[in-house]
């Protein structure tokens, strides 16, 4: 499915990272594998450091810290926020929506819309789509998009499949109308038949948390996790990405009428370095145009890896000038999306610690 938008732009990006850093070696002893095997995994996947929250810190805490930073530094004022979108898979509560909670905590005006969206790896693009659609309304001039994923508490420490890669982070993206003409192109697909390739089985209405769902069980590869924990079918996800993402990139290039060579950077969701570099090779993009340094420095923070790739790799550069970016997110849902858009010069492009 294709989307196009005119005369809208991203005007600022802030990412918020937990100050607490953990290394792969810190946790290696938890896994049921020899040290040699785990170190081989580390090299292949690009694991090193990751940021995870201290116990009790949630996505809304990271978002509020970032919003207060923007308000205090005059990058944003309360009255101009017409819409607050929060994309997360780690909402504070089943009810109410966490975006309403954040609105209340900041004391924002009532004449606005708050929306929670449940999406993960492709959540940055789904959030941007929603923001652009809201900006078609006269009443809405500025949208604040929050992406927050705090999944580290949902991963078993004894699961070598998932624990080494999961990081926590949040991002804040400001989207508004552009006074100069712009065109944004996006292609998106979803396949709910693959919905359980990445999931947290227990904790929702279908299977509430209980003593039984908390029991750790060993899988065929020697990992221990319970039904309360996040579980990934790594081979299915790998094959899904290698099969579905390259043709989607072709689709969005055709829609945007651009060629690969015109793209300055491919800022893609970063599941791990192995998968991303295989994807770059398949699309035929040089690896230096597709940064793959987020997982090794911060961990995979699901929907936040795309804005984090921008703040970490382009930071002050994109505050000065324009870049033509191809963004792509793929994963839980299954959802996969790609977008071609000019970004910059941004009012701010920073990252801060919580």
């Amino acid at each position: 499915m294709n989307f196009t938008f005119s005369d809208k732009k991203i005007s600022g990006i802030l990412t918020i990272l937990p100050g607490n850093e953990v290394t792969f070696e810190d946790e290696m002893g938890n896994y049921n594998f020899s040290e040699a095997k785990s170190l081989k995994l580390k090299v292949a996947m690009g694991f090193n450091k990751k940021r995870i929250v201290k116990e009790g810190v949630t996505g809304s805490d990271l978002c509020l810290h970032g919003l207060n930073y923007l308000l205090n530094n005059n990058h944003l004022s309360k009255d101009e926020i017409d819409a607050l979108i929060l994309v997360t898979q780690s909402a504070d509560y089943i009810m109410p929506p966490t975006s309403n909670v954040i609105q209340g905590a900041l004391g924002l005006k009532h004449d606005m819309i708050c929306l929670d969206i449940n999406q993960g790896c492709a959540g940055y693009l789904v959030g941007l789509l929603q923001a652009f659609m809201l900006l078609d309304q006269q009443a809405i001039s500025k949208v604040v998009l929050l992406n927050a994923d705090v999944l580290s508490p949902k991963v078993s420490k004894r699961d070598r499949n998932s624990n080494p890669l999961i990081g926590d982070a949040a991002s804040i993206t400001i989207i508004e109308r552009s006074s100069t003409p712009t065109t944004i192109s996006c292609s998106l697909k979803m396949n709910g038949q693959g919905a359980f390739a990445l999931q947290i089985p227990a904790g929702g209405a279908k299977l509430p948390n209980s003593a039984e769902t908390a029991v750790l069980e060993e899988d065929a590869s020697g990992n221990y996790r319970s039904k309360d924990h996040l579980v990934m079918k790594g081979d299915e996800v790998f094959n899904f990405v290698q099969t579905e993402v390259p043709p989607l990139i072709e689709d969005v290039f055709a829609l945007a009428k651009v060629s690969k060579d015109e793209i300055d950077y491919f800022m893609f969701h970063q599941p791990n370095r192995f998968m991303l570099q295989k994807l770059a090779d398949k699309i035929g993009v040089s690896r230096d145009k597709m940064p793959s340094n987020i997982v090794e420095n911060f961990g995979n923070s699901s929907g936040v890896t795309i804005p984090l790739a921008i703040t970490f790799n382009l930071g002050s550069e994109i505050e000065k000038r324009n870049f033509k970016l191809c963004l792509s997110g793929f994963g839980v849902g299954l959802t996969w999306a790609a977008m071609v858009t000019d970004v910059g010069p941004l009012g701010f492009c920073k990252q801060i610690d919580y």
Binding site: F33, R160, G222, N239, Q242
Partner: protein, 64 residues
């Protein structure tokens, strides 16, 4: 294959999961190798079902 399994050479009848180096990373590396070299998509379960190096070869040929 020998390189992925960290040995000098492999025989057709060798069981893939019997190598010391075998783990889920080896499995994923074989999936990626088969995709790169033969443009064939296989799953982790396919590799287990194929059992031997010969079985894996037959599987790839049947999916080509």
């Amino acid at each position: 294959m020998a390189e992925l399994l960290e040995v000098d050479s492999v025989n057709a009848q060798d069981e893939i999961t019997s190598f010391d180096a075998w783990d889920s990373l080896t499995s994923l590396s074989i999936i990626a190798l088969v995709d790169d070299e033969y443009s064939v998509t296989i799953s982790a379960q396919d590799i287990l079902n194929a059992k031997t190096v010969e079985g894996l070869y037959q599987l790839i040929q049947s999916k080509k």
